[in-house]
């Protein structure tokens, strides 16, 4: 028997000890970096969305009345302006209002200005929180002086203060007992975005004054602040330094309209 020729054993090719590992490592590296990229992108997306949501909630919180609204929505009338013909017309709405008068005034102004931020508004204004706070002061505005008969060293609780009326001869007087001055503190961020122009600025102020007049008759006068500071104009035109009288701004009864002209 002849022994069959046995095939020569395969000679193992000299293989680099790191060759296989390098091939696997490259794939792994690619997968690894792809995963890392995905993780990073998802993290970034989550952070952005979280920031957006926080801003949205903060904006909502700013627009909410300070006090909890009453359970029943109330009928209010908003004086809405129209840039095209320079008119202001009343519109009845149902909104929930807080109990406190200053919070109610703020809520009314917030609702009014929110209507102007809607697309297609006849008097377009920037969106976002506009009113920081509304303060109410009884009229006439008085100051207080400490009683000079008490020594300065006396503790505050024993010192008396006397109300002193303004000696300004042109100071506005209240129309009736219980009248109040509303100080509306506007936000600088909103004021800086307000459109500039005599008509558009005046309509904003008249719209606010008319709305307060219709819904809160105890408010007789209004002054405006911007971030707690006096400011000359709303956006370069309408005077913000004067005291405004709250009155009906929808109808022009003082003969403003020109006599009919027939071309």
């Amino acid at each position: 028997m002849s022994e069959g020729r046995q095939p020569a054993p395969r000679r193992a090719r000299p293989v680099s000890p790191h060759a296989g590992m390098q091939k696997i490592q490259r794939r792994q590296r690619i997968v690894f970096w792809c995963l890392m990229l995905c993780i990073f992108a998802m993290g970034l997306l989550l952070a952005i969305e979280r920031h957006r949501e926080r801003q949205r909630i903060e904006a909502l919180a700013e627009q909410m009345p300070i006090d909890a609204p009453t359970a029943v929505a109330k009928t209010v009338t908003l004086d809405l302006a129209n840039d095209q013909d320079g008119s202001i017309h009343p519109e009845v709405r149902q909104i929930a209002l807080p109990q406190a008068v200053n919070a109610r005034a703020r809520a009314l102004i917030d609702h009014l200005l929110a209507a102007y931020a809607l697309p297609g508004a006849a008097h377009p204004l920037p969106p976002g929180p506009a009113v920081a706070e509304v303060f109410l002061l009884p009229l006439p505005v008085t100051g207080y002086v400490a009683d000079p008969s008490w020594p300065a060293s006396s503790s505050a609780e024993y010192r008396t203060a006397t109300p002193v009326a303004s000696n300004d001869p042109v100071a506005l007087q209240p129309q009736r007992h219980g009248g109040e001055l509303a100080v509306i503190d506007l936000r600088n961020s909103w004021v800086n975005q307000h459109p500039s122009g005599v008509e558009v600025e005046s309509l904003t102020l008249k719209s606010i004054l008319g709305t307060l007049h219709r819904n809160l008759p105890q408010i007789e006068q209004v002054r405006f602040l911007v971030d707690g500071q006096a400011r000359e104009t709303l956006a370069g035109h309408a005077d913000l330094l004067r005291t405004y009288i709250v009155r009906d701004t929808t109808t022009q009864t003082d003969g403003d309209a020109p006599e009919p002209v027939h071309p």
């Binding site: 303004s166 506005l172 459109p195 005599v198 558009v200 005046s202 004067r242």
Partner: protein, 228 residues
């Protein structure tokens, strides 16, 4: 009063551009262009025109110079004793011309020394008549018109029949405000109305006693600053 003198106040100027009408146009440029056209129309009708500025950045007439303040403008206008003072503005909102007088309530007479912040009060009846005259002329010219009263400085400090003339676009195109034809049409209507006005204007009666404290709901009270 100088019946043939008209004051034109092109609002803003210098570092105060006013409203941004479009990407390339500021309010101060439109008001100055309209003032030049109106001045030419009025000069052609024999009026003397006093302008508070005839360049971009006028200097204050007060000692020390500086930029022209709103009070400076009122001072220039009041020294002219003009038959009409027109404060020119421009806006991209609305259309046509917006014609406003001061929001102050009228007083029957002018005190010897009128309060600076309410000096216009005695001139309100004349301002109202001037408003009707110019409004009628603009309507006859077919220009869309809005009239009313506003509180814009320095109107309340002017001692002359005073109006704000705010030029708005002629149509949907905001840049229509810069069209020569449109500005000419507005200027022609106003100049024609002022020619009629020259024969109607009257100074308010002088009040020879001290002005009584105001109890009307129309006054300013800048000094009654609240302390919230």
């Amino acid at each position: 009063m100088q019946r043939r003198v008209i004051v034109l106040d092109p609002a803003h100027g210098g570092s105060d551009p006013g409203a941004q009408i479009s990407d390339t146009t500021s309010e101060k440029d439109v008001t100055l262009a309209l003032a030049f056209r109106l001045r030419a129309m009025l000069a052609a009708r024999g009026f003397t025109v006093v302008m508070t500025r005839d360049s971009d950045a006028p200097a204050s007439p007060a000692p020390g110079g500086g930029s022209l303040t709103l009070d400076d403008r009122a001072g220039v206008a009041n020294h002219a004793h003009a038959a009409a003072c027109l404060v020119l503005h421009a806006s991209s909102s609305g259309d046509g011309v917006h014609l406003y007088r001061s929001e102050l309530d009228a007083t029957p007479a002018e005190p010897i020394v009128p309060p600076w912040l309410t000096a216009q009060a005695a001139w309100i009846p004349q301002s109202r008549l001037l408003q009707r005259e110019i409004a009628g002329a603009l309507m006859r010219s077919g220009i869309p018109l809005v009239t009313g009263s506003v509180s814009v400085r320095p109107m309340d400090s002017l001692t002359c029949p005073a109006l704000i003339v705010e030029l708005a676009p002629a149509d949907e195109d905001v840049d229509s405000m810069n069209r020569t034809g449109y500005q000419q049409q507005v200027a022609r209507a106003i100049a024609g109305a002022l020619l009629v006005w020259e024969g109607q204007v009257q100074a308010p009666p002088q009040l020879w006693v001290a002005a009584a404290p105001r109890t009307s709901p129309a006054g300013h009270s800048r000094r009654t600053a609240p302390h919230p």
